[in-house]
C-alpha cells in the first residue's frame, strides 16, 4: 500500500499534510506520535472512513495493489471490504450474538455468500486467530455485550479478520484494555504479520517497539520520519523524533 501526498481536512482544519508513505506488504507498520497529530485521521484516510465525517475532505492518492482507492469510479464501500479496521473502543453489535457479530462482514462480501456451514467454519477460524475461541466456543449464540472489554475488542478483531482483508488497520486497539488483554492483542498482531499487512496506530511507544517492523513518527499532521523499528528507536534521524522518543514531549 502506498500513500502519495495525502492531505485531509476537517472543514477548514488541515489535519493531515502531504503524507507520503510506503506500507510494506505482510509487515506490521506502527504509527506513533503525540495526541492530535493526525495519525488516526491519516489511518482513516486509508480505508476511506475519513469522508464519512460531515465536512471532511481528502486529497491525494492511496494505492492499494497499484489502484488508487480514491480514483474515479472507485466505490468507497468496496474499498472497505478489502481494508479492515478495528477501532479504539470495542463496538460489538449489541443486538447480535457472538457468532453473528463475527459473521457480520460475511453478509456483504463480494461474490456468493457462504453457506451456514462455511460461515461457521470462518467464524471459528477468525475466533481462533483472535485468541477468543476457547473462551466463547460454548456460548456462540449468546449476546456479544455480555463479554468483557478485552473480549469484546478481540471479538471486533475477529470480526475484521473474518472477511480476510488485505490490509488491517488498527486504531489504538488496546487503548481501553487491561494489560492482559493488551498482551493477547499484541501477540495477535505479531502473529498476523506473515499473513496480512497491518498498520497500527498507537500512543504507546513500547507497544510499537514490541509489535511492529516499521515505525512512522507523526507530528502536527506531517510524517516526520519512517524507518525500521529497531533503528527508529535506537538511532532516529530527525531531532523531533528523538525528542518524542526520549520523552521530552508527548
Amino acid at each position: 500500500m502506498v500513500a502519495e501526498q495525502v492531505n485531509a481536512w476537517f472543514g477548514s482544519t488541515h489535519a493531515v499534510r502531504g503524507v507520503q508513505m510506503r506500507i510494506l506488504d505482510r509487515h506490521v507498520t506502527a504509527i506513533i506520535g503525540p495526541s492530535g497529530c493526525g495519525k488516526s485521521t491519516y489511518l482513516r484516510c486509508l480505508n476511506r472512513m475519513h469522508e464519512t465525517v460531515p465536512n471532511a475532505r481528502v486529497e491525494g492518492r492511496v494505492l492499494l495493489d497499484g489502484r488508487d482507492v480514491y480514483g474515479k469510479g472507485v466505490n468507497a464501500v468496496a474499498v472497505r471490504k478489502h481494508v479492515g479496521m478495528v477501532f479504539q473502543r470495542p463496538t460489538p453489535f449489541p443486538t447480535m450474538s457472538i457468532r453473528d457479530n463475527v459473521a457480520a462482514g460475511l453478509r456483504v462480501m463480494d461474490g456468493d455468500r457462504p453457506s451456514r456451514r462455511e460461515a461457521d467454519e470462518i467464524v471459528e477460524r477468525a475466533l481462533r486467530r483472535a485468541a477468543l475461541w476457547d473462551e466463547v466456543k460454548d456460548r456462540l449464540s449468546t449476546g456479544a455485550v455480555a463479554l468483557s472489554g478485552g473480549q469484546q475488542q478481540r471479538l471486533c478483531i475477529a470480526r475484521a479478520l473474518a472477511t480476510e482483508p488485505e490490509v488491517l488497520l488498527l486504531d489504538e486497539p488496546t487503548a481501553s484494555l487491561d494489560p492482559i488483554s493488551t498482551q493477547s492483542v499484541e501477540e495477535l498482531v505479531y502473529e498476523l504479520r506473515n499473513s496480512m499487512t497491518v498498520v497500527i496506530v498507537t500512543h504507546n511507544m513500547q507497544q510499537a517497539a514490541r509489535v511492529s517492523d516499521f515505525t512512522c513518527f507523526f507530528l502536527n499532521g506531517e510524517m516526520v520520519e519512517m524507518g525500521a523499528t529497531d533503528s527508529m528507536f535506537t538511532t532516529p534521524k530527525d531531532s523531533r523524533t528523538e525528542a518524542y522518543i526520549t520523552g521530552r514531549f508527548g
Binding site: 472512513m49 468496496a78 472497505r80 471490504k81 456483504v108
Partner: protein, 316 residues
C-alpha cells in the same frame, strides 16, 4: 487548625496538638449565625419539598379520580356479554359493545399499517440526515402536524376518502388515525435512532456495509426496542381519538368488519350512548369508557415493560 510545629531540635516526634482553645467572641457569633442560617435553610427545604410532593399528588389525582369513577360506574355492566354481544335496541336490557371493541381494534390496526412504516421511515431519515435542509423542514412540519386538531384530520380524510366514494368507511377512519400517528412515531423513532452511538455505525461502515444497509441492519435493529415503545405509545394515543372518526368511520350499529363500510368504534359508541337520554345506555357508556382506558393502559404498560431492554446502549 494546624498542629503546633515542634520547635525543639531534639524532639523525636511532633508534640501532640494542644487542647482546643476556647472560641473567641467573634468565632462564637459566627457559629451562631451559621446555625440559624442552616436551621432556616432546613425549614425552607422541608416546606418546598412538601409543596412539590403536593403538586405531584395533584398531578396524579385526575387519573386516579377518573379510574375510580369508571370502575364504580362501569364495572357493574362488564360481563362476558359486554364483550361478545351486539348493542340492543332501546328498551331491551343487556347487549354489549362487541362490534365497537372489534371496530376499535380494526381501526387501530389499519392506522398502524398506514402510519408506522411512514413514521418509522421518516424518523430514520431525520436521524440519519440531521442537518439537511429537507430534514429540518420535515421536522418542523411534523411538529405542526402533531399539534393539528384531530377534527381537522377527520375533515381531510372525509374530503379525500369519503366524498369521492360516497359513503363512510373504516378505511378512511384508519387512514385518519394513521396520519395522526405519523408525527408521534417519527419523533420517537428519531430520538431512539440518535441514541445509537456513532461508533456502531462506523464499525459497520468499516466492515464494508453500505450506508443504507448500516441504517437498516445495524442502526434500526439496535434502536428497535425504543422504536417499538414509541409505536405502542402512539397506538395508545390514537386508540382513544374520537373526532377524526366522526365523519370517516362514522359508527355502525351492526356487526361489520369490512374496511369499505362504516364501522363502530369504542369512542364513537361511548359518544352516542352518553348523549342519549337512556340510563341503561349511560351505564353502558361508562363500561365502554372503562374498556377503552383499560386498552390504553395495557398498551402503555407493555410499552414501559418493553423499555427495560436486554441490552443497555452505551454500556461499558
Amino acid at each position: 487548625m494546624s498542629e503546633p510545629v515542634a520547635t525543639a531540635p531534639n524532639a523525636a516526634a511532633p508534640t501532640p496538638p494542644a487542647a482546643p482553645l476556647r472560641p473567641s467572641g467573634r468565632q462564637r457569633a459566627f457559629a451562631e449565625r451559621t446555625a440559624t442560617t442552616i436551621g432556616r435553610r432546613r425549614v425552607v427545604n422541608s416546606i418546598m419539598t412538601g409543596v412539590l410532593v403536593l403538586f405531584s399528588i395533584l398531578a396524579a389525582l385526575p387519573l386516579v379520580v377518573i379510574l375510580f369513577h369508571l370502575l364504580k360506574l362501569g364495572a357493574s355492566s362488564l360481563s362476558i356479554d359486554f364483550f361478545t354481544k351486539m348493542p340492543k335496541p332501546v328498551g331491551e336490557s343487556g347487549g354489549g359493545m362487541a362490534n365497537a371493541i372489534v371496530g376499535t381494534l380494526i381501526l387501530v390496526g389499519t392506522g398502524a399499517l398506514f402510519g408506522l412504516p411512514i413514521g418509522i421511515g421518516a424518523g430514520l431519515y431525520l436521524a440519519e440526515h440531521r442537518e439537511a435542509r429537507l430534514a429540518n423542514a420535515v421536522r418542523f412540519l411534523s411538529d405542526v402536524l402533531n399539534g393539528l386538531p384531530s377534527i381537522v384530520m377527520g375533515i381531510f380524510a372525509w374530503q379525500f376518502l369519503v366524498r369521492p366514494v360516497g359513503h363512510f368507511s373504516a378505511l378512511s377512519g384508519g387512514v385518519a388515525l394513521g396520519v395522526m400517528m405519523i408525527p408521534m412515531v417519527a419523533r420517537t423513532t428519531e430520538e431512539m435512532v440518535r441514541l445509537v452511538p456513532i461508533s456502531l455505525r462506523e464499525a459497520a461502515l468499516a466492515l464494508g456495509f453500505a450506508r443504507w444497509r448500516t441504517s437498516l441492519s445495524i442502526v434500526l435493529r439496535t434502536a428497535s426496542a425504543g422504536i417499538v415503545t414509541g409505536a405502542l405509545v402512539a397506538l395508545a394515543r390514537i386508540a382513544g381519538e374520537t373526532a377524526p372518526l366522526l365523519f370517516t368511520a362514522f359508527g355502525n350499529q351492526f356487526w361489520s368488519t369490512k374496511l369499505s363500510q362504516p364501522i363502530s368504534a369504542l369512542p364513537l359508541q361511548i359518544f352516542s350512548y352518553a348523549i342519549s337520554p337512556y340510563d341503561e345506555w349511560h351505564t353502558l357508556a361508562w363500561a365502554g369508557a372503562l374498556v377503552l382506558i383499560a386498552l390504553i393502559l395495557v398498551l402503555s404498560i407493555v410499552a414501559r415493560v418493553a423499555t427495560r431492554s436486554r441490552f443497555v446502549l452505551g454500556g461499558d
